[in-house]
Amino acid sequence: MHSNGHLAEVTEEEFTQDVLGRHATTGPRYRRLMWITGLLFVMGIAGFVLRAVTSGFDEREPWGYFAATVAFLITTAGAAPVVAVALRLVKAHWRRAMTRIAEMYAAVGVLTLLMFIPLLFLVPSAAGRRTLWFQDTDPPTLGLHSSLIIPGAPHVWVTLQIALFVLVSLALLRLSARPDMAVLRARASGRLAAWGRRMSAGWLGTQKQWTVFQVGVGALGALFFIMLIGTVTLYCIDFGMTLVPGWRDSIFAAQQSVNALQGGLATTVLTLWLVRRYGKLEKYIHMEHFWGASKILLALTLLWFYFWWSAFIIFWYGRQPAEQAVLQLLMFGPYRYVFILAFVFCFIAPFLTLLWNGVRRSTWGPPLASAFILIGILLDKTRLYVAAYSVPNDEITAHLLEKVPPTNYPDIIDLMMVVGAISGAVFVYLVVARVIPVFSMWEMTEGIRLRAVRPFLKTKMVVLGKPD
């Protein structure tokens, strides 16, 4: 037993048998959870239908909470695979137990994409207002046409971006699961074996296949990262910032991107804890996984504050009417309590939790901080998008928000949609976890091979292989 509390030696065979055994059966508690989240998801769909029937798509205000939920899902579940991508890139040994747990969130992207479609009817075209899709001034200063806007902007391009993002994340999941599917094909029975046969796509584990596989996972990972940043950037600008006249915040997209990294990691850490706790997988998920993740989580939490402060201080010092109106709308006015709570949950609570080495080096501290962060992100998206969606249509082309709209409180339909969408995401994840092993078996096996415990002077040390 090591000081971090985990058993050093598990053979490859023991590990594979154990994981396959667990994967072949579904416990009653798991089924119950699937039923509950499935029903809540149906309730969310009902809420969506009710909202569409009662409010239509002419006004944005009734859809503020829906837009915030889409942003929440992109920032958390959508971003979770980045944990696998980044940790593979830096070859962190402690990643192995959590890569698949993170990657499986790719499947939630399908739900996010479907939820995004109604928002297209709510956002006006780029013409006549500030958008990211360049529009020259009148008279033109660059000698270009006075209303140069890229055709289809923003709708076509943002849809394309999000669709590609979902496609890339699914491709990443599909590819990285391929060797494990071959294990299912070879060692499982019945439908699971048939599924493995289909998904392994002729995987034999030859040297050439492994080389192509490694290059593919690396390239798709890099593409996923670019797609994630692109999606967060376009969504937050085109479906958030541009809807508020006078809101010109060049750091906003970068801030939201950092928030996505924070949200993705928090989602993974919390899921890791749930899998460990309720899947009884203490044997494979150790304190070192939470410890490694907690240091990055702490850094991202500090970055959240830094980006927020960098924007705030410029608005505060600038004191121009447009800046004051934006501060009033998003921080000091109708959404001040939501902002304060978001600030507490996104920064103060996780910071004070993760500050302590003892807490970071525990199996409960990082998940607790992650839970804080997820609550904070939901609140933060609420104050940003609900506020942005409450600006009336006829004011959207102005250069300044003349009148700050009042607070848009959620009604029962909003709550149905928010709870339903989050439950839907959990439901999709639970379904996927039944068809793809929750551990990246090839990475875990590789980890077992690369690890040894050897005597060193008067003690024993862990020796970790670092291949190129």
Partner: protein, 458 residues
């Protein structure tokens, strides 16, 4: 591919202390050459102080010119130290070992040089004292503490103090080694500096804790320094192009990009000058190259956001400024050089493994980044001031005078000179760190293949 080299402690001591114990002739010649440029710079400063700022190219409304550009540039270079040393130390990256000391020392010297620039730029250096420090209460002269210009000295001197401590803490074990290999007056001086280092378990423990603590404490300071420098610009609303929320992280990431590139330049020169082929290997430069791809691309994202948000504003003045930066001579030429040398050329090259492992190409590309990053600062400062805006009554361009050019060139020579002086007194590669790396190296056998491995504490 890892190119492990097995070295004995004696060999490490001999190789890394060679220059400290007996410097070759070329070393002294190079020192003399750099000292003469530094002297020329000092004369230029003296001349400027004597004659006044009229002899520079500064004018209304371009009140900030080459010296402030250079100030921002050297602050940027100083970010190399903490970025590499502290972050890589905290993350226990193995390839950090030969580059940590060099980057820490580069931080200290570039910060010292950076801090001199605004003082020289003021034209009356002695006056900066009461602009920055609250001492003249009797005459009712107080610095305006709401101004980032006042936060600057506080941040810079905090960073300088912290970085110096960081260097000293990491130097102590090596000073013990030098102490034991010198005689006479040098032995006494090194004994004093080694502060009784014996390498006992307790001393090692304290040294490690101090290193980790300083790493963690310096990280927020390092971020704050360049953020505050950026706020010198961004909190103003009177100058087009400066009032942007992204400026703080944009400056920080730009600084890290140029700082790490400077470290690449430096380690390659160190390898050639001191024949440290066994210590600074292609794998180290390769790792730095991969890190630079990530940092450079992050910088590009911030650059894209900064530029596109200027167009997003739909304000005539803002768009006209961008038009000036991109389309008007000579800024268009500088802009093109900046984009090509700052990102397109180096990052495209680094995508190829062969380039990352070729020291000549890495030297060229790392230098290219810093040409680009220097121009970036120039293009942020000068066109914004030179353009006619609602708050300026004049509209002129800026041409640096020979005095300013001399001062800027001598700043580069001075930093290089200080590094050489340091290399004569202290080892530029930490001996204890390299030895630790040798001790922790191991191998894992997988089938017939032996995989390089590392002993780790858990």
């Amino acid at each position: 591919m890892q190119e492990r080299v097995t070295l004995t402690s004696t060999q490490i001591n001999t190789d890394l202390l060679r220059n400290v114990l007996k410097a070759p002739l070329w070393y002294w010649l190079l020192m003399g050459f750099l000292a003469s440029i530094t002297l020329a710079g000092s004369i230029a400063v003296g001349f400027m102080v004597n004659k006044g700022l009229g002899i520079t190219g500064l004018n209304r409304p371009v009140m900030w010119g080459f010296l402030i550009t250079d100030f921002v540039f050297w602050i940027g270079i100083s970010h190399a130290g903490v970025m590499l040393s502290a972050i890589l130390r905290l993350s226990k990256a193995e390839w950090r070992r030969p580059a940590t000391r060099a980057s820490e020392v580069l931080t200290v010297f570039s910060l010292m040089i950076a801090a001199l620039h605004p003082v020289i730029h003021s034209g009356r250096p002695w006056r900066t004292l009461y602009w920055a420090f609250p001492y003249d209460f009797s005459r009712g002269i107080f610095p305006d503490i709401r101004s980032p210009l006042i936060w600057d000295p506080a941040a810079i001197f905090t960073y300088l103090t912290g970085s110096t401590l960081f260097v000293i803490v990491a130097l102590v074990p090596d000073l013990g080694v030098i102490r034991d290999r010198t005689t006479g007056i040098r032995h006494h001086i090194y004994s004093l500096m080694a502060m009784g280092w014996r390498g006992t378990p307790r001393q090692w423990k304290l040294q490690t804790i101090a290193g980790f603590l300083l790493s963690a404490l310096l990280l927020p300071v390092f971020v704050s320094v360049h953020s505050i420098v950026s706020w010198d610009f961004a909190v103003q609303i009177g100058v087009e192009g400066w009032h942007a929320t992204i400026f703080a992280p944009y400056f920080v990431i730009g600084a890290v990009f140029s700082g790490v590139s400077a470290v690449v330049t430096m380690v390659i020169l160190m390898r050639w000058m001191f024949k440290w082929e066994a210590y600074i290997r292609a794998e180290h430069v390769d790792a730095l190259g991969r890190l630079l791809i990530a940092i450079g691309t992050a910088w590009l994202f911030f650059f894209f956001l900064e530029f596109s948000m200027a167009l997003y504003s739909l304000e005539d003045q803002e768009i006209a400024l961008r038009e000036m930066q991109v389309f008007t001579w000579p800024y268009n030429m500088l802009f093109l050089v900046f984009v090509v040398t700052g990102y397109l050329f180096p990052v495209t090259m680094w995508l190829f493994r062969g380039v990352r492992r070729n020291l000549v190409l890495m030297l060229i590309t790392s230098l290219s980044v810093n040409v680009g990053m220097w121009l970036e600062r120039f293009l942020i400062i000068i066109p914004s001031l030179a353009r006619k805006s609602p708050l300026s009554f004049d509209w002129r361009s800026y041409h640096p005078s020979i005095v300013e050019i001399t001062i800027v060139l001598s700043a580069f020579a001075t930093v290089f000179l200080l590094l050489l002086v340091f290399a004569k007194v202290f080892p530029l590669i930490p001996l204890f760190d390299v030895k630790e790396g040798q001790t922790l190296a191991d191998n894992v056998q997988i089938g017939r293949k032996s995989v390089p491995a590392l002993r780790v504490e858990e």
